[in-house]
């Protein structure tokens, strides 16, 4: 008998944090303009020592103003999607649940686009209207997961196949709405179809957006983490969890809202990036087991690692042109999805 201890959890997270650091350094090095490891190391050291004035300006511009913000965005988006996927998998008792597959990302996109359309008509202070897009995305995500949840029910029980089909159909319907909105209503200042349908991380944002994303991520993930042991029991079904002392309606509400919020955050700044919420929790479960006290933080770190890595590939494989990062995650994720589906069926 080897129950989870804080020490073990800390070590696991520490190892992943080190890997994330290495991946971040690699991502800083590679790109359209090559940077030597030496120069990178020197600049990182100077940055850490607060000697930012000594960093050469052209490197500094590329590293700190272009690459680092994009890497930070990848970290937050990857972690958010991964935590959202883990949560949906536990709540819906479906190992194939993921914000993208269930259509929640598409719902968030519709919400975000509608918010972008509405913003010019509402005379709001800039600080408030900046939050309108993520709030729209959150509402879109929450509405979609509610709809898919009811579509996936059969005789009062969640049916795995019906749920996934419901998600796929919902996603294609919402994607049609996205195309309609983008081709008719928007005035050209919103981002293109590739962004909303495939997802990419190339948009640059102001510092305040990063603060909002970071705080939002920690609050929502923290809320989900308080239910970690409840989620463990929910894997055996809602009735059994209730008999073991889980307040099922409360847990369901907290986790659905928080996971929809995380999806909304990610989608409002990066569009619908596919399969991160599916692949990463699976890999982490294989390595660390299915205890959510471990799974949630390791999935968050793993999601960050995966998306920083995928985005580095997206920036470099066909350089100087860029791929959408969603294309990279889909190429890896779709075959894995098929594999998991076939394994689950047998």
């Amino acid at each position: 008998m080897r129950p989870l201890t804080f020490r073990r959890l800390f070590i696991q997270c520490f190892i992943l944090a080190v890997i994330l650091f290495v991946v971040v350094v690699v991502a800083m090095k590679f790109g359209a303009v090559p940077v030597s490891l030496y120069a990178l190391g020197r600049d990182v050291l100077r940055f850490l020592l607060g000697q930012t004035s000594q960093i050469s300006t052209d490197y500094g511009l590329i590293l700190w103003n272009i690459r680092l913000p994009r890497i930070l965005l990848a970290i937050i988006v990857g972690a958010s999607l991964s935590v959202a996927g883990t949560s949906f998998q536990a709540l819906l008792r479906n190992p194939l649940a993921d914000p993208y597959v269930l259509g929640v990302s598409s719902g968030a996109s519709v919400g975000a686009i509608l918010a972008l359309i509405a913003t010019p008509y509402l005379a709001l202070p800039p600080a408030v209207s900046a939050l309108l897009t993520p709030m729209g995305a959150f509402l879109g995500a929450a509405a979609t997961i509610t709809a898919v949840y009811f579509l996936g029910r059969r005789e009062g029980q969640i049916d795995s196949t019906t749920l996934l089909l419901g998600g796929v159909i919902t996603a294609s319907f919402l994607n049609a709405i996205i195309m309609f909105l983008l081709s008719t209503v928007t005035s050209g200042n919103t981002r293109g179809m590739a962004f909303w349908l495939m997802g990419d991380l190339s948009t640059s944002y102001q510092k305040s957006v990063f603060w909002f994303l970071g705080i939002g991520f920690f609050v929502a993930t923290g809320a989900i983490y308080t239910t970690a042991t409840d989620l463990n029991l929910l894997l055996a079904g809602e009735k059994e969890a209730m008999h073991l002392g889980v307040d099922v309606p409360r847990v369901r509400l907290v986790v659905y809202i928080a996971a929809s919020f995380l999806t909304g955050l990610a989608v409002s700044v990066s569009g619908s990036i596919a399969y991160v919420g599916l692949i990463v929790p699976h890999i982490m479960r294989l390595i660390f087991g299915s205890d959510h006290r471990t799974l949630l933080p390791t999935a968050a770190l793993g999601g960050a690692i995966a998306l920083v890595f995928a985005d580095t590939l997206a920036r470099t494989v066909v350089a100087p042109t860029e791929l959408a990062v969603g294309a990279v995650t889909a190429v890896v994720g779709a075959p894995l999805f098929i594999y998991l589906l076939r394994r689950g069926a047998s």
Partner: protein
């Protein structure tokens, strides 16, 4: 109070409740798919009481309301009328957490989404006793180990739940219920997927555990002979009605059982002094 003096019929108000742990008082329930329609299923007022260390078998054919009665006792359903008291508390109004500290429910089967080892599964029984975000304490581990040992499954501790036999699984599920350290242990057809040896083994364990730990055990079954052999009290159900409550010797009468189970049978006294039922083939 001797067992022969137990109430013979449902709802005998004369019976003292001072020594009872579980008290089911005139409980009824109606289920309908649509509130405007007539109910599809009703459970008529049912009463019985049980003391610590006692095993109560809820016996009856399919669709007699056995499982509904068990759900009402577990607090998962709210009764339409009447009340169910466990040590003076109404089970339905307890929070899930306090309820799980007092009542353990063993269901027919437990399906896991992702593989877990037996010890992880048993530790889940400690959930209601630990604070949010707390890691399992040494006490929890000791309680879980004891629970596994009590059902003779200590050697299964490190096995995967999806790689053990039905009988072994049932014992681990029972161990998880014991890890909850309940006052009341509820079992819904625990012998359904077990072979005869495992059935006897399970009920034997229940008998011993009820005596050792002073649990009150309520078990739903349609196994007439297992109920006769191991129960102190039998609650006989038919089509949503509680026909009789009493010790097996008082309930196991040929005409009554034939009428309830709709099949010719004979009742004889077994070697243990408890009634034994044999179904008679008409051909």
């Amino acid at each position: 109070m001797s067992s022969s003096a137990l109430a013979r019929n449902a709802g005998d108000p004369a019976r003292s409740s001072s020594d009872a742990r579980l008290s089911v008082e005139q409980v009824s329930y109606a289920y309908s798919a649509n509130p405007s329609q007539a109910p599809l299923f009703t459970l008529e007022a049912t009463s019985f009481q049980a003391k610590p260390g006692e095993i109560v078998a809820i016996l009856g054919p399919n669709a007699s309301g056995k499982s509904t009665l068990l759900k009402l006792i577990s607090g998962a359903l709210a009764p339409l009328s009447g009340r169910i008291l466990l040590d003076g508390f109404v089970t339905h109004s307890l929070t899930p957490r306090t309820r799980a500290q007092r009542i353990a429910v063993v269901q027919q089967e437990s399906r896991l989404l992702f593989p877990a080892r037996a010890w992880e599964f048993v530790l889940q029984g400690r959930h209601a006793h630990s604070r949010t975000l707390r890691f399992e304490s040494e006490d929890d581990v000791i309680i879980a180990k004891n629970a596994l040992a009590q059902v003779g499954a200590a050697d299964l501790s490190d096995r995967w739940m999806d790689q053990i036999s039905g009988g072994e699984k049932q014992r681990v599920i029972l161990a998880r219920a014991l890890a909850q350290q309940p006052l009341l242990l509820l079992l819904d057809e625990p012998t359904l997927h077990l072979d005869i040896a495992a059935q006897v083994d399970l009920l034997h364990s229940l008998r011993r555990l009820a005596a050792e730990n002073r649990y009150t055990v309520v078990v739903v079954t349609h196994e007439l002979n297992l109920a006769a052999e191991y129960a102190d009290q039998v609650v006989l159900m038919q089509r949503g009605r509680c026909l009789r409550v009493g010790p097996p010797a008082a309930i196991y009468q040929r005409e009554l059982l034939e009428q309830v189970f709709q099949t010719p049978l004979t009742v004889a006294l077994g070697s243990s002094g408890r009634p034994h039922v044999t179904v008679v083939s008409e051909r």
